[in-house]
């Protein structure tokens, strides 16, 4: 199972990087999401994949019975998913607004901040 998950993490990250190299903002967004999910899966795997149960303490006892699964990576992954999703939502709206007002989904044509035909630097002084 660990090997399958490790392969999946690699596949997700490779796919994410491939899509991030695209010129289209929407593809970059999808790449970002896939990359983020690969990372989330990696955190999940880092807690060691086991068949054990969740660490629920039975009524009347102060420690769980038997072997338990590590709950910490699941807390980490939960935080990371929420944050990643909010960032994705913001970037999606930003991409849409940029498409509306710049009329560009292609990063090659988004040159307002860095004009392509900028003049030579001043040569005086």
């Amino acid at each position: 199972m660990d090997y399958i998950l490790a392969g999946l993490v690699g596949l997700f990250i490779a796919l994410g990087v491939y899509l991030l190299l695209s010129r289209s903002v929407i593809r970059m967004l999808i790449g970002m999401t896939i990359f983020g999910n690969g990372v989330n899966l990696l955190i999940f795997t880092s807690g060691r994949v086991t068949r054990e149960v969740a660490p629920i303490v039975p009524w009347g006892q102060s420690v769980p019975e038997g072997v338990i699964a590590n709950p910490l990576p699941q807390a980490l992954i939960l935080t990371a998913i929420v944050i990643g999703f909010s960032m994705f939502a913001f970037l999606l709206v930003l991409a849409f607004r940029a498409y509306q007002s710049l009329d560009a989904d292609n990063t090659d044509t988004m040159r307002l901040a860095e004009p392509k035909d900028a003049p030579q630097p001043p040569l005086s002084y």
């Binding site: 990250i13 991030l20 903002v25 970059m28 970002m32 990359f35 983020g36 990372v39 990696l42 955190i43 795997t45 880092s46 807690g47 009524w59 009347g60 006892q61 102060s62 420690v63 910490l72 990576p73 980490l76 935080t79 990371a80 944050i83 990643g84 909010s86 960032m87 913001f90 970037l91 930003l94 991409a95 607004r97 940029a98 007002s101 710049l102 990063t107 988004m110 040159r111 307002l112 901040a113 860095e114 900028a118 003049p119 630097p121 001043p122 005086s124 002084y125």
Partner: protein
């Protein structure tokens, strides 16, 4: 069977049973105040002037808390407060040492000045946008990142900072800003995702994310895996700090928002990247840093040399200042390559200097853009005759950025030169020290050339480029009442830079002690209550 209310298990070793001492609250108060203040100001934004006054009061209280915290750390060594009663590494710890406390204090002072300046600068200063609460959110993220003692907590503060900076960057939503925000947004989000990736690997390797705990456990982990993690951290924080090969997002985005926002970003955001690099590579993973030393040195030298060349070739004034910021990052990263006490003290002092100087530079450029109505240096000129104080401020700040003696920028450069001299020429003659020594000197000269060229183009020349008239340009606007406030804010920061340059003793002593704590982390570990476990 024990009743659920009485616990038969002894938790004294794992949980803090007594109440948190009142003095420890100064650690968490700055962050909590900024977060709650942001929420309150969001609700109050319809009331005239309430956001400004509220924000100034809240930042003032935060400054008071951080002064108290700094005094506490100076007197008693690093301080730590653990959340939720669990001892570290289980509870999330906020840990402040001298570096973190000093930077947090300087950051909040700069935020205070920018809040005043923003009133002069923002065209929409009277509008009911959420500017002030976003500034407070940004400050919360920055302060949290400086004071945290846990790597995952650091990731969360990075994201708080990131979402607040997104909001500030697109405020006003001119097409130019949207363009800059796309590049800023994607690359910074990618950097934090890479940081998260290295966190997952760290947890898998050592089973903890508390910085002091990693420091204790890392030597027994697989060195190859730890070196890979350190390399990923270097890439992630390098992107955040805009170090040489991954700096393209900074000149693409920092000139697009309002000058007050640019100033705030330049002062706070990239410095967090350098601080995180020093904290994670030098203080937490020193073994892995040694393996990566040639790479780090190459990155630092590249940043030092390429950035001022970019500034020389630039015609847009704020973009040129953006390259100054990157050059400063190169200097602040020298301590990463030479982690001696002097080198780290130089880096720490340079971060303080850069927070003050880069913010002031963007603010003065905001005033210049206001009176000329231009962003391009080719179309400026003749400002010297009309606005002499402005020209003096700009020149002083450029000289401070280059590290000319009477100003604060000189002392960190001196420390860094001393450290690289000791490592290269006087020490074992390593190439790292020699190359860094020359790069620092060349960087200073190139920065001086770039800065004085800008000064000559904007102030000395009679009018816009190509103008043949000997008469002084008439297109320069007068400085309004709001402009005067802005100029006053810049003047205040500049006076601080000069005073700290003339009297650097107390600050330098603090930073040197902080650097000593990073080189020998025993006091830091003791503060987090991990030492007595014998791990």
């Amino acid at each position: 069977m024990a009743s659920p209310s009485t616990s038969p298990v002894d938790t004294t070793g794992a949980m803090i049973e007594m109440a948190t001492p009142l003095a420890d609250w100064v650690l968490v108060l700055p962050v909590a105040l900024a977060l709650m203040g942001a929420a309150a100001l969001l609700a109050l934004r319809q009331i005239n002037k309430a956001p400004l006054i509220g924000a100034l009061i809240i930042v003032g209280v935060i400054i008071a808390c951080e002064v108290q915290l700094l005094l506490d750390v100076v007197a008693n060594g690093p301080a730590s407060m653990t959340m939720g009663k669990w001892f570290p590494p289980f509870g999330i710890a906020l840990t402040a040492d001298l570096f973190g406390a000093t930077f947090a204090l300087v950051a909040s002072i700069v935020t205070f000045v920018v809040l005043i300046y923003a009133e002069a600068d923002r065209a929409e200063a009277d509008s009911k946008d959420a500017f002030h609460s976003q500034v407070l959110l940004l400050l919360a993220g920055v302060t949290g990142a400086f004071l945290t003692g846990d790597l995952f907590n650091l990731y969360v503060w990075f994201e708080v900072m990131l979402i607040a900076s997104f909001g500030l960057l697109v405020q006003g939503s001119r097409p130019l800003q949207l363009d800059g925000a796309i590049k800023y947004g994607f690359l910074n989000f990618l950097a934090t995702t890479l940081f998260l990736l290295s966190l997952g690997l760290t947890y898998g390797s050592v089973g903890t994310l508390n910085m002091a705990d990693i420091l204790l456990l890392a030597p027994s982990a697989n060195p190859a895996a730890m070196a890979g993690i350190a390399a990923l951290l270097l890439l992630a924080f390098g992107m955040k700090a805009a170090a040489f090969p991954v700096n393209a997002w900074l000149p693409a985005s920092y000139h697009t928002p309002a000058p007050a926002v640019s100033a705030l970003f330049a002062g706070l955001l990239t410095k967090i990247g350098v601080y995180a690099l020093i904290r994670s590579l030098v203080a937490v993973l020193p073994g892995s840093r040694e393996l990566l030393e040639p790479v780090i040195a190459a990155l630092v030298i590249g940043t030092l040399l390429v950035a001022p060349l970019g500034a020389i070739a630039e015609t847009n004034l704020r973009r040129a200042i953006g390259f100054f910021v990157i050059g400063g990052i190169g200097a602040a990263m020298v301590g990463l390559a030479i982690p001696s006490e002097t080198g780290l003290a130089g880096s720490g002092l340079y971060i303080v200097h850069a927070i003050l100087t880069m913010t002031a530079l963007y603010m003065v450029v905001g005033v210049i853009e206001k009176v000329t109505g231009q962003t391009n240096t080719r179309k400026m000129g003749g400002l010297y005759a009309k606005h002499a104080p402005l020209s003096v401020l700009f020149l002083v700040l450029v000289l401070a950025a280059a590290g000319v003696p009477p100003f604060l920028g000189f002392w960190p450069k001196l420390l860094l030169l001393e450290a690289s001299f000791a490592d290269g020429v006087a020490g074992e003659g390593s190439w790292v020290g020699n190359w860094l020594l020359w790069s620092l000197l060349i960087n200073a000269v190139l920065t001086l050339i770039a800065g004085t060229r800008l000064w000559a183009h904007v102030f000395w020349r009679n009018g816009p480029e190509g103008e043949t008239s000997e008469h002084v340009s008439s297109t320069v606007l007068p400085l309004g009442k709001r402009g005067q406030i802005g100029l006053g804010a810049v003047g205040g920061l500049t006076v601080a830079i000069i005073l700290l340059g003339l009297w650097p003793g107390p600050l330098m002593a603090n930073i040197k002690q902080g650097a000593a704590d990073i080189v020998d982390p025993s006091r830091y570990i003791a503060a987090t209550n991990l030492a007595e476990d014998g791990k």
